[in-house]
């Protein structure tokens, strides 16, 4: 593989995972913290709160997964090599 392409791929992979994880990380932390606070306030609504948290986390984590897959493809199955 061309060294320039290899270096660019590694940098792009790092940026894809690193930048792609910032937003979902902050969002997941906020959502989980608020959900636990909500459960502590209203234990009766625990099932509903956890269900809402599960659905929202599943959507949020997808953004990280997209970045991760792009990075893995660049590293292990690079189409530009």
């Amino acid at each position: 593989m061309n060294p320039t392409v290899a270096a660019a791929s590694v940098l792009a992979a790092a940026l894809a995972v690193g930048l792609g994880a910032i937003g979902p990380g902050i969002g997941q932390g906020n959502a989980a913290g608020r959900a636990v606070e909500g459960i502590a306030r209203q234990p009766e609504a625990e099932g509903k709160i956890r269900g809402t948290l599960l659905l929202s986390l599943a959507f949020m984590e997808a953004l990280t997964i997209y970045g991760l897959v792009v990075a893995l493809v660049l590293l292990f199955a690079n189409p530009f090599s």
Binding site: I39, A40, R41, E46, G47, R50, I65, L68, F76
Partner: protein, 168 residues
């Protein structure tokens, strides 16, 4: 809905607003008076509440929907592409089911056994994608699209509960 009393001391007004929005649908539930302090851990009772049945039901429903969608997509992929591609899709869908189960377990343990959500479940996807990139028989795209089947199941569930709320 019984909103918290004005005299109830909260750490921040924004937190109480978000909790109100999370507790939509529980009109008769009176809020428990707690005084959270920013940064202090909130201790939940170690035993799950009876309302957790609703959560387990949702978890089971999502897993069933994912498996049904997997079966429904597997056959057309087999017909229109090949058995090899369909098996790749199946591998990805199974990975997605395991991932969803791990996510659901992490959410159920949050605040009880765990203080934070881990990201170990992503290791499954990383492992599968790396193996797929190294072996010639495995293709990345069908595996990745198979993995996303759980998301289709969640969207289906959300649409079902939004359009037909009485169907549950």
């Amino acid at each position: 809905m019984n909103s918290p009393e004005p005299s109830l001391e909260t750490a921040a007004e924004s937190s109480s607003q978000s909790q109100e929005s999370l507790a939509v649908g529980t009109p008769d539930v009176a809020p428990v008076e707690i005084q959270p302090v920013d940064g202090a851990p909130i201790a939940l009772s170690p035993e799950p509440d009876a309302s957790m049945q609703e959560y387990y039901q949702l978890q089971e429903q999502l897993l069933k929907l994912t498996l049904i969608l997997t079966g429904a997509i597997f056959i057309p992929v087999w017909i229109f592409y090949s058995l090899n591609i369909a098996l790749n899709y199946l591998l990805g869908a199974c990975t997605g089911v395991v991932y969803l189960r791990m996510l659901a377990r992490n959410v159920a343990q949050l605040g009880r056994q765990r203080k934070q959500l881990g990201s170990s479940r992503l290791a499954i996807l990383i492992g599968v994608i790396i193996v797929a990139s190294q072996l010639h028989d495995l293709k990345i795209m069908p595996i990745f699209l198979g993995f996303l089947t759980y998301k289709a199941a969640i969207i289906f569930y959300m649409l079902q509960t939004t359009i037909l709320p009485d169907s549950q």
